[in-house]
Amino acid sequence: MSHLDCFKFPLVLFVVGLFASPLFGASVVGSKHDMSAAGGEVCVHCHTPHFANTEISAPLWNKKSQNFNFDAFTMYTSPTIDTAIPARPSGISLACLGCHDSVSAPEAATSTYTHYVVNTPGSGLNNSQAYWNSLNCNACHGGHGSPLYKIPAVGPDLTNDHPISMVYPTAAQDPSFYQPPDSQKGWPDLPLFSGKVECATCHNVHDPSKIPFLRMANTGSALCYRCHNK
């Protein structure tokens, strides 16, 4: 071992430790967004490496949009808002709303949408009983004697929810918003998506460490104050 290597090894250990530390948060594994049965594949319930659905702009999305009515949602309105809210959710928010669309019955996404994927794990399963066996029903359902759905559902009426899919206001449009360092990508820890606010601006679906899947702790309403200057 050379003199230099003596320094390298602890440095590598330190860097590895840093990545494993809570600084980088937890992963989706074991979180409420982990829909896999014991030992099953975790990522597949949302993502696939091949044949993904490109209509929903979440990375390599593994759900079929033909079983999802994108126009089922009623959007937020406000007489004082200075940016335009589109008629329907866009982009990555549609991925979230595919499951979080309704509380008592499927309103936007059908049962076929939520229970099947485009491309099943491994090969040849083709949405068979084997895929269903890889699902953990209790991840979304309450079980016998409990409410049918136990996931918080915000839709299809989005009028009582923070607006989504609207372009972040410019300083000229509304001076009571802080301007992000990148008008398209937002802040390093609080992203905009093509310049728009989406569900995933505030929520990190893969990291349960700040309940409920928040991008950052909301102590002192810090998450709100990243955008709002009030």
């Binding site: 004082t80 918080p152 009582n160 923070h162 802080y178 360092p181 002192g220 104050y225 200057n229 009030k230």
Partner: protein
Amino acid sequence: MRLKILFLTLAGFSIFLYTLVARGATVVGSKHDLSTPSTNEPCAFCHTPHFANISIAAPLWNRSIGNVTFQMYSSTTIDTTIPGVPSGVSLACLGCHDGVNSANDKHDLRNAPGPGGMPDQSSWPNCERCHPEYYGGGGPVNWLGTDLKNDHPISMSYPTPAQDPGFFTPPDPQKGWSDVPLYNGKIECPSCHNVHDPSHSPFLRISNAGSALCYKCHNK
């Protein structure tokens, strides 16, 4: 790698600067900041990102409003019509400032901070924020009561020049002035008050030196 560290440091520093400089006066630390160390989200006492009360025309309102009857201002010389009930965002203000002790419209939040819970009682321990007189913290909160006859009228449409030449005409008949807003063309509590900014006490939109706030509308 060095560039990345430099970028992250710069990004962190600019965020720090934003919090220091650009924020100015906010609701944080003001009389409208009802948070405490145990319930530490100032926004949550009025607003919620989900499951808001949309019957109140205040953004994402996190409180229920009781069915209170108000007595409205009247005047023999007024040239615009005052409606029978307060409307719009004024109801959000009156939800607290009517002074009517109705537990579920004063104290409960619709949606608790964090993972939520409805209705939520997490604001209950913060009594001294609204009841300072019981905690040695000065006078009571400014309750207007349900009798609004002795208060500046609200919820009426701003008069046109034809209706009343004693008023200045705003640049936008619906939104008013940039610093003194109308709400759908109506005067509401927040036409004069900015609930989020304590810098012009008592939460005024602009300084009233020389009665400048009054003279924004009144040509007297």
